[in-house]
Structures are given as structure tokens and as C-alpha cells.
């Protein structure tokens, strides 16, 4: 139903590891929270440089530390990032992140407070490095980008009746077309798949993949139970019930509608890249900022985000396209939205037309049009913690 979309061609930026970006950012990334002030001031001193703060980064252990490092490296090596400066207090911390980024095929620069010898020296040396990166970025040539070179993150938040009926199914139709043309789509929020096991089993590429998908979903349910929360007992919420949702299965299937109908390849870890084209589930929690950060860290060039009641969040590295079919939200929060599907509810826009509007907007965003969140600078990054600090 989307044949003929994007025939004018997509353009991107070639990166050293073969991937292509849709933005040409220079970023300063803090490897731990104790250098956030430094990263912030470096970004302020060098206009246009993206500030990627750390929430923690110290006192972390085990899988939690591994996830944080992988996500930091994923952001540093992101195809939308032309150059990245990783800073830390002691040199080992930034080197650890840099090393992982290099393994993803991207060179990054590092700088440490201790090596440089204090704040003034860091600001001087860092600014010099960032200016050089900006110069190099400006000289990057733009190249044609094929649909098959795209990884799109799929997210929904602030969901309501219109999400399950229109927003998610329309995004699902776009996702099907993306996959049919060789692209990659990554959804996450396994906790919102509880009750959708039959769908996962049916769409999984193999019985092993189905088992992995379902186990990932159930792990979140177990986690909730350990903390005294019975997800099946507390969902649907009173709001959901008032909106017409009767069961958690129904809520989950509504969320899964954004993933379309094609084969689901398997599960990838938090901030991990998809190893092959197709639809993948990322093991990441549902809260919007953490979730979008995980999708970005996994290398999604952009994120399509369906919202019912409105959600302004965008990620500084992965442009986040906001889609809503709720007329009231479109009316009140138009500035925060990129795609208006309210006509689907009014009956004057078909599902195919809705998917076309999404595809057209995504095409423009790929080719440089700023998203609402980019225009408003409503951008945030935050890597999930899955364990306590010591």
C-alpha cells in the first residue's frame, strides 16, 4: 500500500563501519556522572555539539555495568554521530567506552580530567578536539540511502483507545512495508507483550526464537511479582477499562500492532544492534526516555513513537517521530507532534493513508527535516539501571 513512497530518494552520511546516518552530529559523552559538568560546559562552549550526560557510571557491577557500557558505546558509535568525544574522570573509564565503540567500527576521541589536569585544561583540550570533529563532519559527503540500510525504533507511550485502533495499526502497516523492502525494525517494552504470547509464538522465526521472546516477556512479569506487583492483576488500569480495554491480552496486542505482521527474528539485549534485517524485540523497559535511549544505543537512525494522550520525549541522537490519532491531543499538543492521524478516527483517512502520512514524514525526517522534539529541543537521554550501585 506504500508503493511509490520515497521515490525521490533518501540521503544519508557514510560512516567508517559501513552504516549510514541521517544526522551528522558531533557529541560529547560523559562516561560517568562525575564529569557531567565538564561535558555540559564543553557542549555550551561549542555550539551544535550534542551533550550526552551519564546518570551513573560509577559503582556499577555485573550485567548492570555491562549494559551501561554497551549503551554508552552504542550512542558514541551511532551512525547519526559523525564524531564523539568520550570524557571521564580517570582515563580507564573513557577508554573502556571508547574500546567498545571501536569494536563497533567507529573511532572516538577520549579525554580524562586526571590526564588533562583539571577543568580549564579539559575545556581547552576538549574544545580543540570537538572543533576538529565539527570541521571533519562538515566535510562529510552525503550519499544515497537505501531502505534496507534503515533501522527504525518502534515505541508507544501515553497510549489510549486511539493508539490500539489507529496509531499502532498504521505504524504497523508502515513497518510491514519497511521490512518488505529489506529494512530493520526494533520494538521493545517486553512487559507490554504479556498476554501476546500466542502472537509471538506465531510470528517468531523459529520455536527457539519464540521461547526466547516469551521468556524475555515473562522475566519482566517475574521482576514485577518480586516487587509485589501483579501485572495481570493490575492491568488493564482503571483508565484502560474506562476506555474499553477489558484484558491485559488486549492491551498488549494493541501495543504489538505497531510491529506489523512480519516474522519476528528474535531478542536483542538492551542497546544492542540488530544482527540482521527484520523485526527484532529489544529487552528494554517501557519508560519512554530509557526506552528511546535503548533503541538509539542499538543504532536505530530514528524512532517512530505513537502516543494517544501525548508524550513530548525525543532522543538527542535518534530523531523521534511523534504520531497521534487522538483529535484532542492533536488539537492541544500539535507542536509536539509530527504525524496527525486524527482523520482516521473521523473516518476520512484509511489505514493505508495513515501509513502513507507516516512514511512521508519519516522520509522527510531522514532527509533532514527536524522533528517536533528536535525543534523544541525536548530531547533527553538516560540509560536504564538493572542493578544497584555499591
Amino acid at each position: 500500500m506504500l508503493d511509490g513512497m520515497w521515490t525521490d530518494g533518501l540521503i544519508g552520511y557514510q560512516r567508517e563501519n559501513g552504516r549510514k546516518g541521517i544526522r551528522n552530529l558531533v557529541a560529547v559523552l560523559a562516561a560517568a556522572d562525575n564529569v557531567n559538568p565538564l561535558a555540559r560546559q564543553l557542549a555550551a562552549r561549542n555550539p551544535g555539539v550534542v551533550y550526552l550526560p551519564a546518570s551513573y557510571g560509577r559503582g556499577q557491577m555485573g550485567r548492570d555495568f555491562e549494559v551501561s557500557l554497551r549503551a554508552m558505546a552504542g550512542l558514541a558509535a551511532h551512525p547519526n554521530v559523525a564524531g564523539c568525544l568520550v570524557i571521564s574522570f580517570e582515563p580507564e573509564s573513557s577508554e573502556r567506552v571508547a574500546d567498545l565503540a571501536r569494536r563497533l567500527g567507529r573511532p572516538v576521541e577520549t579525554l580524562s580530567f586526571l590526564d588533562a589536569g583539571g577543568m580549564e585544561e579539559c575545556l581547552d583540550q576538549g574544545s580543540k578536539l570537538l572543533r576538529r570533529m565539527c570541521d571533519e563532519a562538515a566535510r562529510r559527503k552525503r550519499v544515497p540511502l537505501a531502505v534496507g540500510e534503515l533501522t527504525v525504533g518502534l515505541e508507544c507511550g501515553g497510549s489510549d483507545t486511539t493508539s490500539g485502533l489507529f496509531g499502532n495499526p498504521a505504524l504497523g502497516a508502515f513497518t510491514d512495508w519497511l521490512i518488505d523492502n529489506g529494512g530493520t525494525a526494533v520494538f521493545s517494552e517486553p512487559v507490554e507483550c504479556l498476554g501476546g504470547e500466542e502472537l509471538l509464538r506465531k510470528r517468531a522465526v523459529s520455536p527457539q526464537a519464540a521461547e526466547r521472546l516469551i521468556a524475555t516477556v515473562h522475566a519482566y512479569n517475574d521482576l514485577a511479582r518480586e516487587h509485589g506487583v501483579d501485572l495481570a492483576g493490575t492491568n488493564p488500569t482503571p483508565d484502560n477499562l474506562a476506555g474499553g480495554l477489558t484484558s491485559i491480552e488486549e492491551k498488549s496486542l494493541g501495543a504489538l500492532a505497531k510491529t506489523g505482521s512480519r516474522t519476528i527474528m528474535g531478542v536483542i539485549g538492551y542497546g544492542e544492534g540488530a544482527p540482521a534485517p527484520g523485526v527484532w524485540m529489544m529487552d528494554a523497559p517501557a519508560a519512554a526516555v530509557e526506552n528511546v535511549t535503548a533503541l538509539a544505543a542499538g543504532g536505530a537512525q530514528l524512532v517512530c513513537f505513537v502516543t494517544g494522550t501525548g508524550n513530548p520525549t525525543g532522543h538527542p541522537v535518534s530523531p523521534t517521530v511523534k504520531i497521534s490519532a487522538n483529535p484532542r491531543t492533536v488539537d492541544r499538543m500539535r507542536a509536539h507532534l509530527d504525524v496527525d492521524l486524527a482523520d482516521m478516527l473521523r473516518g476520512t483517512m484509511s489505514l493505508a493513508a495513515g501509513a502513507q502520512v507516516i512514511a512521508a514524514t519519516v522520509g522527510e525526517v531522514i532527509n533532514g527535516t527536524a522533528t517536533a522534539a528536535e525543534r523544541l529541543d525536548y530531547l533527553e537521554t538516560n540509560i536504564s539501571r538493572i542493578g544497584p550501585s555499591v
Binding site: T161, L165, P169, A173, L194, G195, G196, E198, L199, H218, N221, D222, R225, D230, A232, G233, L241, G243, G244, T246, S247, I248, E249, E250, L253, G254, L256, A257, L345, G347, S350, L351, A352
Partner: protein, 451 residues
């Protein structure tokens, strides 16, 4: 009023429901549109008011049938739903929701003597001796009084069927060995509750004489809940330890087949005012009955309950029933289970481990269950009053512990059972409507008059 129809969106071709895009009143005409293509599928009449975004039934849905949306089941109809009716929590429920139990009919309340009579008379009519019928009737009644429903009336029909098929000898008289502190008891394939009652009385008598005694019972059958016999002995001012083996169902972690039963361990001692310390635990993380129940309700099992036939952890009730239960508490629980088998099946000289016959696989074969009961006479040990004083003090100190504001006061084992027993003796026993109906039809089929 405009006659323009309200649209309803159907999300997949095999859906049973569609969501209305405008609130529609009773009798309102609804045009159902397939979301993916926009084509009109049908027109129907709303049978009641349906609010915006809510679902209406596209055709009649029978009670108990799955309800599909997005092409997949979103739950099950809890009532017969007619075309055009509102589908929501009043007539549909999630298959994962614990709310499932609310859909059952309210319990029927019966006095304890009703339960006792229906069990006793049915067993007698099926060919059990008066002593055996009385013994099982008492045990089943106590199960209901103490809230141990899994060993209640639902055990009657299988027992009656096994007596009729010759799997259990309802008229058997258990044979007691030499009159010493160590009693060998041959159950002679009698009703387990009867064999265990005879053994409990004999071991208690022997302990009074010798200070301590043990009964080693073989060739018995399923005896209900172990706490019943332990408290029967404890009521004689003795400290009791009771264990049993049974039908194979538990595997060690990772094993592809079960080897042992979930051997129960009961320890009981007397308190004052018709209260007992009554520890009674099966060594599996949950009973097979709970898994059968989850399979029926369509829900998922909590982690750590069971594993599948390939020895992998599972939360799918069907896979768990084809596989095995896990011991509680991981390796420690399994270790306790092995030790309990050493204390029963091995020591009693009867069947052990998976030699105990399955009621389901071989209904007409003797089970060969073994029980071990140990009684320590308190008067001989420390003096009954001195011991009970000490136990009362322990119980008092447990209850007096400060707890965080959201926690319940600490309880001793058996506290809930004996409190419930007092309430149920006074107010009657709540029984599931279906269970009462089943037991009454069984009794009538045996020619027993019940009301």
C-alpha cells in the same frame, strides 16, 4: 435524530468484536468496517448502549469461548454473549487475570456433619467397612474444617472408583506387628485414611508405654493430609512426626523425569484451648492440584514450580503436567525429600520412589504407599504441662514481635488452620457449588439419600 450509522472498527478478519467509534445507544445501527482495508463488513444493531472505544460482539459468542481481537484471543466469554451486545469485564475476562475465581458461583455452606455423612455413607455403599468409612469421613471433614480443601470431598469420587475397580480393598483390616515401641503395620491395601488412623492410635498407645514409638506402615494408600494424623497423636499429649510417600511427581532440577513423590512432613504438638502447633508441608513447590487448576484457568505458573519433560524450567501448565514438579527451596527442599523417602518407603519395606503406583495410570492396581509416624510422649519426656508452657511461651513471643507496618503479625504453624476450624464448626463449611453437586450425584448413584 440523524439515522447515520456509527462506525465500528474490526482489526482482523477473524475477530469476534469491533470497537465503536462513537457512543451508540440501544438499537443504534452500527456499520462494521475492517480496519486494514476500510471495507464495510456488516451492519448490525447495538443491543445496549456501548461507549466510544468499547467493543461490541460481531456474532453470538458462547460462554467459555475465546474472544478474538487483533486476530488473537484477548480472553474468554464468562457468559453467553449475543450479537450486538457490549463486550467488557461483565461478560469477558482475561486468561491471565487472577480475577478468574470471581466468576465462580458463590460457595454453598454446609455443616461439618453433612460432609462427614455423605463421605461415610458413600464409602459404605461402595463396599468399605464401617471403620474405614468412618475414618476417611473424619479425615475429609477435618480437611474442610481446617481449610485444606485439596484433601477434601474431591478425593471421594476417585476413592469410590478405586474401591469398585478393586484398586483399593475397602474392607481390609490393617495388621499390626508385635507389641513393641517399633510397630510394623501392613495396610493390606486398605483405604489410606483408615490404615493411617489405626497406625496413629497404635503408635500413640505404644509411646505412652515406652516413652517413644514409631509406626512403619506399608501397603497403604493415599491418606489425605499428614497434619491430621500428627495432631491426632498430639492430642494424646505427644509430639508427633508424620511423613508418607506417594505417587511419583517430583524431579531434581534439570532431570527429564520425576523419581519421587512430594512426600509431606508434618510435626505437631499440643497447645492449650484446642490449638495445636501443626506444621504440614509437602516438599514440592506447589501441589499437582494447583497446576491442574492453572491449566484449567489458562493462566501461567509462577517461576520455580515445575519443569517440562526435557528438564527445563517451564511456566506453561500443560508442559508442567507432562513434566514434573520441583521441590520447594531448590536443592535443600529436594534433599529433605530424599531423606523423607529414606524414612518411609525405604524403611517401611514397601514400595519406594517411582514404584508407588499411579492412581491415574493404574486405577485397579494397589498403590503400595508407605507412611512413617513417630510419637514422643511428653509426660515421659519433660512433663506435659512443662512442655506446653514452653510451647505457649514461644507462640506468645512470636506474636509479640514488632513487624513493619505493612506486615501481618508473625504466625506459628497451624494457627490459621485451628482458627478456621473454630469458625467453620460454628458457621459451617463453605464448599464450591460444583463440588457439592458432584458429590451429591455420586452419592445418589450409590443409592445414598442426601439433601
Amino acid at each position: 435524530m440523524a439515522v447515520s450509522a456509527v462506525r465500528a472498527i474490526m482489526l482482523a478478519a477473524n475477530d469476534d468484536v469491533a470497537a465503536v467509534l462513537d457512543t451508540t445507544g440501544k438499537g443504534g445501527v452500527v456499520t462494521v468496517v475492517l480496519g486494514s482495508s476500510g471495507e464495510t463488513v456488516k451492519e448490525l444493531t447495538a443491543q445496549q448502549e456501548i461507549p466510544f472505544g468499547h467493543k461490541l460482539a460481531l456474532h453470538d459468542i458462547a460462554e467459555g469461548k475465546p474472544v478474538h481481537r487483533y486476530g488473537f484471543p484477548i480472553g474468554v466469554a464468562t457468559a453467553a454473549i449475543r450479537q450486538g451486545e457490549h463486550v467488557h469485564s461483565h461478560n469477558m475476562r482475561s486468561l491471565l487475570s487472577p480475577a478468574a475465581k470471581q466468576d465462580l458461583k458463590p460457595p454453598v455452606v454446609r455443616p461439618a456433619h453433612w460432609v462427614r455423612a455423605v463421605v461415610r455413607d458413600s464409602l459404605a455403599a461402595a463396599g468399605a467397612s464401617p471403620e474405614a468409612a468412618e475414618a476417611m469421613a473424619d479425615a475429609v471433614t477435618e480437611a474442610h474444617l481446617r481449610g485444606v480443601e485439596t484433601h477434601g470431598l474431591r478425593r471421594l469420587r476417585p476413592y469410590v472408583e478405586r474401591i469398585r475397580s478393586g484398586g483399593v480393598d475397602g474392607a481390609a483390616r490393617p495388621q499390626l506387628g508385635a507389641n513393641s515401641a517399633l510397630l510394623n503395620v501392613d495396610g493390606r491395601n486398605g483405604i489410606g485414611h483408615h490404615v493411617a488412623t489405626v497406625a496413629a492410635k497404635a503408635v500413640s498407645d505404644a509411646a505412652r508405654r515406652f516413652g517413644i514409638a514409631a509406626a512403619l506402615v506399608r501397603n497403604s494408600n493415599h491418606f489425605g493430609f499428614a497434619g491430621y494424623y500428627a495432631t491426632m497423636i498430639a492430642a494424646q499429649n505427644q509430639l508427633a512426626i508424620v511423613t508418607s510417600n506417594g505417587q511419583v511427581c517430583v524431579a531434581p532440577e534439570g532431570a527429564t523425569q520425576p523419581l519421587l513423590s512430594n512426600n509431606p512432613l508434618a510435626i505437631a504438638a499440643p497447645l492449650r484451648e484446642d490449638r495445636f502447633l501443626e506444621l504440614d508441608l509437602a516438599t514440592s513447590a506447589t501441589s499437582r492440584a494447583n497446576i491442574v487448576e492453572a491449566a484449567g484457568a489458562g493462566g501461567l505458573l509462577p517461576a520455580g514450580w515445575a519443569q517440562d519433560a526435557q528438564g527445563r524450567p517451564t511456566r506453561d501448565p500443560a508442559a508442567a503436567l507432562a513434566g514434573s514438579l520441583l521441590a520447594f527451596g531448590g536443592g535443600k527442599g529436594f534433599g529433605l525429600l530424599v531423606a523423607l523417602e529414606a524414612l518411609t518407603g525405604l524403611l517401611c519395606g514397601g514400595a519406594f520412589a517411582d514404584q508407588v503406583s499411579s492412581k491415574e495410570a493404574a486405577p485397579d492396581a494397589p498403590e503400595g504407599t508407605a507412611h512413617t509416624m513417630i510419637a514422643i510422649d511428653l509426660e515421659t519426656a519433660l512433663g506435659t504441662d512443662a512442655y506446653v508452657d514452653r510451647l505457649e511461651e514461644l507462640v506468645r513471643r512470636l506474636a509479640a514481635l514488632d513487624v513493619n507496618p505493612s506486615a501481618e503479625p508473625a504466625r506459628y504453624p497451624g494457627e490459621r488452620r485451628w482458627k478456621l476450624r473454630r469458625e467453620r464448626l460454628r458457621d459451617g463449611i463453605p464448599l464450591a457449588d460444583a463440588e457439592v453437586a458432584d458429590v451429591m450425584s455420586l452419592a445418589r448413584s450409590l443409592g445414598v439419600a442426601v439433601d
